[in-house]
């Protein structure tokens, strides 16, 4: 890991700065809004004008589907105008991912395709990720880049703090602190702290800004670094002479999966199945809202990961303890089917199951075992 020594390059004559926050729809909407508002209000401390907005097309936001909000700060009102009446800036200086699984790709709508997290980031821009993982681990799951950028990892997990019932965890203030580290000319640390102090009257919040600033680990990412294991998904929008009449798009035939819009970018965890303890009860297959289970010739139910959004319902309805376990998405680097591995060599598969899920592959004992054996509860 290379710790960056200098501040990331800034365009000398930059007249504005654009920051995007990529987040999990609905769950992190308020968090994203606090960050983008925080940027604009902190820059206002310096007398700079700014605007904060969300990508209008994301609304109404769908649970977990990647969404974006933006903050733009400019040297004056005239320069700001170029960033106003927009839905989405084409180029950003900093992209902030407030959930580290987003680095595996952003697929918000079918026709956006699956976009690398760095796609809108300018050369020598910054990608900030809140994560408990190291910068190297994050780079390993990020698409191979065609431009150099600086990766910053802000310590911390994916925060739900914006949701009503969740306690504030200062992710917002720590991200603002991290932004002051990578954009010192636009968001000087002291001014960010002054703004947060004024806004919250809470020295703990101010301390979190400092902590985000100090604890963020930077790493230069060179052209060609990253993974090319992720699937390429693109879409060409038709013109008015080539699109179908009557606002019609081809639907899928029964049993056919959508080849263009796969939606797995929504996933933060994926179900991993212990086929040895599966009792073939069909519950996962029945209750999966996305019909992502396929029945194998042996009567097992395997997850088609390309179709799975990681909702976790299968794990909830499965009556067998630890038969379906939800596992951090960053532990996987492909959507390959795993049932063939189990069919070929159960020991290898079960070792992999235990390693990834952290659970025992051995059959359960006690009450659940009775269910597994078909006995009365």
């Amino acid at each position: 890991m290379t710790q960056a020594t200098a501040a990331p390059p800034q365009t000398a004559a930059a007249t504005d700065i654009t920051i995007e926050v990529v987040y999990r729809g609905i769950f992190q909407k308020t968090l994203a809004q606090r960050i983008t508002r925080g940027v604009v209000l902190a820059a206002r401390q310096k007398g700079l004008p700014g605007t904060a907005f969300s990508r209008y097309g994301d609304s109404p936001e769908r649970n977990g589907v990647p969404a974006k909000q933006f903050a733009v700060v400019a040297v004056n009102d005239i320069e700001l105008e170029a960033s106003m009446a927009r839905y989405e800036p084409a180029v950003v200086d900093v992209s902030v991912a407030v959930d580290d699984t987003l680095v595996k790709g952003v697929e918000s709508w079918a026709w956006y395709g699956r976009q690398p997290i760095w796609k809108p980031v300018r050369p020598n821009g910054v990608v900030l990720v809140t994560s408990d993982k190291s910068p190297d681990e994050i780079v390993a799951q990020t698409d191979k880049t065609d431009r150099p950028y600086t990766l910053g990892v802000v310590p911390g997990g994916a925060s739900f703090a914006g949701l009503w019932v969740y306690k504030d965890d200062h992710t917002d203030w720590r991200v603002l602190g991290a932004l002051s580290k990578v954009l010192p000319e636009w968001l000087p640390l002291e001014e960010v702290k002054a703004q947060v102090r004024r806004q919250t009257k809470d020295e703990n919040a101010v301390a979190s800004v400092q902590s985000g600033h100090d604890a963020t680990k930077l790493r230069q990412v060179k052209v060609g670094e990253g993974t090319d294991a992720h699937e390429k998904l693109g879409f060409t929008k038709p013109g008015w002479t080539t699109m179908r009449t009557g606002v019609i798009v081809d639907a899928r035939k029964p049993g056919e999966r959508n080849p263009q819009y796969k939606r797995y970018a929504t996933r933060t965890q994926r179900p991993v199945v212990n086929f040895d303890t599966c009792i073939k009860c069909t519950m996962c297959w029945l209750d999966c809202p996305d019909e992502c289970f396929e029945v194998t010739p042996s009567g097992h139910f395997e997850v088609v990961y390309e179709a799975c959004v990681g909702c976790g319902i299968c794990a909830q309805v499965c009556p067998v303890k630890d038969c379906i376990v939800m596992v951090d998405e960053l532990k996987f680097d492909s959507n390959k089917l795993v049932f063939p591995v189990w069919e070929k060599d159960r020991n290898t598969y079960n070792a992999w199951f235990e390693r990834t899920s952290g659970r025992s592959a051995a059959p359960p004992t006690g009450e659940k075992a009775a269910v597994a054996a078909g006995g009365d509860e």
Binding site: K237, V247, V249
Partner: protein, 410 residues
Amino acid sequence: MAVAVKTTETSDVQTEQLMTGCEAIAEAIRLADVDVMAAFPIRPYDTVMQAAAKLIANGKLDCEYIVADGEHSQFEIVKHACAVGSRVFVGSSGVGWFYAFEAIAVTAGLRLPVVAICGNRALDDPGAFGTEHNDSLAVRDLGWLLPWAETAQECLDLALMAWRVGEDKRVSLPVAIGLDGGFLTHSQQLVSVPTKAAADAYLPRFDLGDRLLHPDNPITIAPQVDQDWLMEIRRQNDAAMRRALEVIAEAHADLKKLFGRGGDSPFLDEYMTDDADVVFFGQGTLALPMKVAIRRLRKQGHKVGLVRLKWFRPFPTDEVVRSLSRFKAVGIVDRDYSFGSPYYGGVLYNEVRSALYSRDERPTIVGFVAGLGGREIDQTMAQDIYDKTAAAAAGGLAAGDQCHWIGVRE
């Protein structure tokens, strides 16, 4: 119910009967073999409900007749029925039409060829049953084809044309025929009714092709599109509306060939215009009192005529320009209002002025708002309209003199 009074001539394609405009529409429903119609009563449209129900009761029409819980459902029902391949009919009037507005908007957006009548009626409050064109005109920008009928005969003919033009794959747009409330919806006139065989020869079966919503043809209709698609979709509707002009012309030519009706132009009905200096311009039953006035004025030596617009959407710009640029002055009579519009004129007034703006040969145009709420246009009013138009032809238009309200008590 229609009563056969006599047969004026032996014809193997049509017989003459006495019926209201709405009953003529019901006859067209029978001839078109409509699959689904949705109904909800509001005057003056509702006469067509009764007439069609009677046809079904008497075994003359086999049609799914659904009485909805309101106009919004009424229009949604036929929209969906149309999407699964049914030939449909629907209609309403005045504020009932407005209650269906959301469904009306999406029907055009989805390119579903619903055929409707709008029994034109004043928008209450205050309560008023008489004709004003503002109900139909409210949908003028949405992609509905909007013809207006003058007679019960034209109601029947336009209805047959409506299915033929709307369902044509080059168009695929809904059609709303304007019928003046009372004067047309409730007044009986002599109508030549085609035989079923003749109507079949004129009107092909409805075929949605690969747009049919059916389990064997999996399609998604109207997904969320946002700014990424909507402009292309609107542009498709624009192209369809442009193509509608030639499809209407074809349908008009065939109707004329088969039944010997419809006049020279599909879009305009001209009366005594050959040597005219001044013409009246309007649509619907307005033409009737204006033609009476023209004959009276001509006896006094005035060279005056009438141009009646048959299709408001698509607006036949070239035909209108070609026709009106021959005259010195045009008095445009609007049976509608558009409060706060340019020169405080009616909708037709401003559309026609807009069509003529870029032409070198432009007549003087005077606007008249007349006959609102179904007020009869009498000969005094027609004279007033003529006098003001002729004065403008002779001496030009003074500022503030562009538009007038006619027959209104001071």
